[in-house]
Amino acid sequence: MAEVSPLVILVAAIFTNNILLANFLGMCSFLAVSKRIDTAAGLGAAVIFVTTFTTAINYGIYHHVLVPMGLTFLSYIIFITVIAAFVQFVEMFVERFSPVLYHALGIFLPLITVNCAILGVSLFMIIRNYTFMQSIAFGFGGGVGWTLAIILIAGLRQKMRYSIVPVPFRGVAIAMVITGVMAMTFMGFAGMVTIQ
């Protein structure tokens, strides 16, 4: 994978290999916090921040601690711990500098800990043997892709309040249908760039 430019990976992570719409990771908070654009954007920003930095930290730990010692089987548990600790840090940071966002995100901020998109990004980084720069690009792009998807669906759901949805489809059901349609739309980007 060393020959692929980080820029290509960045674009691919946002559009063709969108972590949410291509891999369907991070669905829980995607469905739960996508009712308003501003909170969705806030959560998205937090996810971008966390994915970018945790991929960098996890890259360092994986390649400089776990691989030399032959402990790659520990990667899952260590990645989760690093993500959890980092989310704690972000929580303190957000509470200090943006109390309004802190209260708007509420329980979902600590829930980033178990956002599978973030662990997914770290694991893809290993499976695909990315270099450090590629990992950062992938982490950042993965976060941006997730944010793009959640903002798009939040916009749609905000508009949907004024449309007549059949009763059995109201709420999460219609959101799932829209997500499926959005995923198919994103497949239109498929030919643009390819990464495995």
């Binding site: 730990i61 601690v65 776990l66 010692m69 402990l71 089987f73 520990l74 548990i77 260590i78 711990t81 690093v82 600790a85 704690q88 840090f89 303190m92 940071f93 509470e95 200090r96 109390p99 309004v100 209260h103 708007a104």
Partner: protein, 364 residues
Amino acid sequence: MIFFLPILVFAGILVALAVVLTVAERLLVNYGICKIDINAGDRVLEIEGGQTLLSALIESKIFIPSGCGGRGSCGYCTITVVSGGGAVLPTETPFLTRSQVRSGVRLACQVKVREDLAVRIPEELLNVQLFTATVENVRRLTHDMVETRFELKEPAEIEQRPGQYVQLQAPSPEGPVFRAYSISSPAYATGIVELVVRLVPGGIGSTYAHSLKEGDPIALTGPYGEFRLSEDPDVEIVCIGGGSGMAPLKNILFSVCERWPNRKCWLFFGCRSARDVFYLDEFRELAKKNPNFRVIYALSDHDPWDGEWDGETGFIHVSVDKHLEAGDVKRHAFLCGPPPMIEAVMKVLDEKGFEEDDIFYDKF
């Protein structure tokens, strides 16, 4: 060694993360000492930053009313923050009106002290004290109502006005919480506080109040409430209540009859059935002393099998309609009871020519 290595590496990473988090907490969550300026320089508190305004004030012996213990679910702890409180949080907006938000009213339990604050607190609340007391007498009034009288210890006297309330401290799984109850003992009885509490199944405060026995130590804060009784003896007092809304009315009527033995007053009280009737004898006794005091109880759900009933039957607003004559008299009405009752009575009072400003009510 092969077994220890993974454990050591994992533990090492955990320790490193814990150290980083501890350092971050020191830097980010430490706000240092913050100043709280109360009523433009009346009093300046210096407190540890990072806690909520409510707990900072309680720590400094300023007892802001709070029913839920700081979880932001009751909306009682409103105070005006003049500067330094940050933006209004989504957790507060359901409890504040637009004009309140514009004038800086906040929920004290949601405002975190991060910088120097300036707040305005009504004088009344600054006079609120923490009382310790013991249970002097417990009297079962009906199957679900209990009258509990506390003898005040420290301070030994309370200066209350009829219609005010206290907050009883009750234990809960998440630490002590406060629950508001109107004072039912008359204002002239300064050494005691009497409450009338209906048992709400699963309720923290009422379960606690019903479990109290003679001699139990308790703590309460008060008095709260801005309500003032008209001092003009020519103004007639009309008290209308139902269900568990007896406490403030009893306080008003006994205090009024003590101070103005001939002042014209009424009590309309609605109960469901004969077994829910209480205090009727006490009020009849009071009526003997004050010839201008009339007591009318009505049963909405009277069952002849419950025994003799010589009072009214039907809803209380019907009795109000029947007995109260429309006329050109200055009257104040005090309503305390369930919302549907209040609404029905308000309509009747409107027909009787009451001004909106002359009706005071407490819905629950």
